[in-house]
Amino acid sequence: MESNRGRTFSRRWVLGAGAASLLTTGLTACGGSGGGASGDGKTITAFVYGDDAVKVQKAGVARFNKSAAAKKAGGTVKLTEVPGSDYSPKLRTAMGSPSAPDVFFNWGGGSIKAYEEADKLVDLTDIIEGDPVLKNGFLPSVLAAGDLGGRHYGIPMRGMQPVILFYNKSVFAEHKLQPPTTWDQLLDINAKLKKAKITPFALGGSDVWPNLMWLEYLVDRLGGPEVFKRIQDGDAEGWGDPAVLKAAELVKELIDDGAFGSKFTSVSYVNGGAPAVFARGKAAMHLMGSWEYSTQLGKFPDFAKSNLGWAAFPTVEGGTGDVRNVVGNPTNYWSINARTKNKDLAIGFLKECASEAYAKDLIDNGDVPTTSNAANLLSSSPNPEYAKFQYDMVQQAPAFTLSWDQALGDALGTKMHTEIGKLFAGQASPSEFVAACKGLK
């Protein structure tokens, strides 16, 4: 009996203690500031999109933490890599909590609008104007592309990301094809490829954003950059522009024609499905952001080095858009949380991204930096020819349209994704697509 009582007591005690400690740790995890490291006031955190390119930011942080600038500002930067698909929700949740990052990766424009409206961003306009390193460090057009209402809130921190028409050189050589420069040529190539039982285009349709690239280019080629500009500026009637309907109809024709094969709605880009279809010659072309090169270099290095070709998106007959126009992401940006514990340290870190060493790291990764010294560095790229193509493409573009989903921001962008998904899955006709987009709020 005695032992029995002892056991009851100890079990109760253990349960109580366990519950208490769990509750304490639970509450600490909720209320703390993301671990002990940032509790000393000398370490600031930076959230970054965690993909293959993150090694450049890692090197940049390591270099900065050892620099005189970091010592002067009295602290170090701690990098937090957030897996890509979770980046936006994780950032949003963190920014509304006490464990918010001090510096964070973003896409500029609409992607940070909500933070700007909630007074969570440091306005960098005056800081950039007053600092020669930042003012002269970047291509002005790229710096401006991430603006909100003419004010700078971000510093470019990754390479240029124009959307490019990639093709498989060996498949093209085998069937005696040239990359298309007009829409009619593209349709002609499609017909030949389908005859040879090769899917013309790889498409990661289950992710939806790769589908969006087709509409972005087609609308630009058909109606010029002004069509989307109007939508971006808040006029939903802009979706009613004939160029949007025509673009959706052309896309629909491509789908019905089997240009993307019959299984694209269940193929993903993020898990490597679409890049593999392309690299293994099951599909001949792939419309994708410039990062396709580093993706292929990582997954299929032989293909990337010898068989990966690239071209600009073709013109569309009767369209008014300039063939030199580009869509995609000018680059990514660092922004500073207005509630940072050490603003000087954060600004010091941003200056690091204008340094030659940082630009060199980007080049080595196969990226084209947006720094003003980029042109001189292109020759040291692992693929100088590709780097030069990209640089010239962006440099000479009369207009660079930011990816629609990023330009519209999360709320509108997600709803637009749904409509695009329905269009590509055959659940909505082009005119239904236009009507649905006009109703988006």
Binding site: N4, R5, L23, G96, S206, T418, G421, K422, Q427
Partner: protein
């Protein structure tokens, strides 16, 4: 069986022991109550509160009255989601119940191979839903998977995949419940039936099934409530697609909350789900007579 009887008879002879240890006391439930309060009741209350506000995750929630609930009623996607959720729930229930019931009754036998096999069958339940979904996503890859068909690219294919993957994960759990239930059925019933000349099928339909009535209810309530909140598999396998073909309610809630950052609306969907799940399980319990706690052993 005999051991159970022994315990019952022994119970009244042990009051001294009980009194020394002390009767079950409310304090004993405190840890569980605290946990439940902090991690279930409080968040649920907060979500309900948020459903009457407009909040983008930054700044402070702004009260908007019934606007989110009004929006919920007017949203054409709600109707679609709701019917998708119902179809998914019914299909999952039918698939899981049939397989788990048969497996469970089979596993209730006591031969050694059954114990070993039952342990193996249980393995899928030990894996996380996310791991399972990622595994099946790779297996179903249209170009490089084992089934090179456009499985996830059509509504019927995507739905079958979701039902199958869900079943693969949860059937082991329900099998275990049925195994336990089947083992509780008194052996004498079968012996008596055998003497009366009942075959295996007759025994199954006349003894096993009726005796498992409460087990079926328990398992059904768990399945239905589980299917209503089924989420990870849909997120990873189909992202609600193709188009909006598999955008069930929990996915719609995720999209409203963590993609469009309309937390007020997401909370309204969440609250609606809680109400629907509670209502449904109450109805189920009432319809099946489970609530009256009538014994399956009446007349024995």
């Amino acid at each position: 069986m005999t051991t159970t009887v022994d315990k019952r008879q022994a119970a009244p002879t042990a009051p001294t022991r009980n009194s020394r240890i002390g009767r079950p006391h409310a304090v004993w439930a405190l840890p569980a109550v605290l946990f439940f309060t902090f991690f279930a009741v409080v968040p649920m209350g907060l979500a309900f509160y948020l459903s009457f506000t407009e909040w983008d995750g930054l700044g402070d929630p702004r009260p908007v009255g019934f606007a989110n609930w009004q929006k919920l009623l007017d949203d054409p996607r709600l109707t679609q989601s709701l019917s998708l959720t119902v179809v998914l729930t019914v299909a999952s229930w039918a698939f899981q119940t049939v397989v788990a019931l048969l497996l469970g009754v089979w596993a209730a036998g006591r031969q050694r191979n059954r114990a070993v096999l039952s342990a193996i069958f249980f393995v899928p339940f030990l894996l996380s839903s996310t791991a399972i979904a990622i595994l099946f996503y790779a297996l179903l890859d249209p170009n490089f998977g084992i089934i090179q068909k456009d499985t996830l690219g059509s509504q019927s294919g995507a739905f079958l995949a979701i039902v199958f993957v869900g079943g693969w994960q949860f059937i082991p759990f329900h099998t275990l419940i049925y195994q336990g239930g089947a083992r509780q059925i008194p052996e004498v019933l079968y012996q008596a039936a055998a003497i009366d000349g009942a075959g295996r099928y007759r025994q199954f339909f006349s003894i096993t099934l009726p005796q498992l009535r409460h087990t079926i209810t328990t398992s059904t309530v768990l399945m239905v409530v589980g299917s209503l909140t089924y989420f990870e598999t849909v997120l990873i396998l189909t992202k609600g697609g193709p188009g909006t073909d598999t955008a069930i309610l929990p996915y719609l809630m995720y999209e409203a909350g963590f993609k469009t950052y309309d937390f007020g609306y997401a909370s309204a969907i969440a609250s609606f789900l809680v109400l629907a799940a509670t209502g449904l399980s109450l109805v189920l319990v009432r319809l099946t007579g489970f609530g009256t706690m009538r014994s399956t052993r009446e007349g024995m």
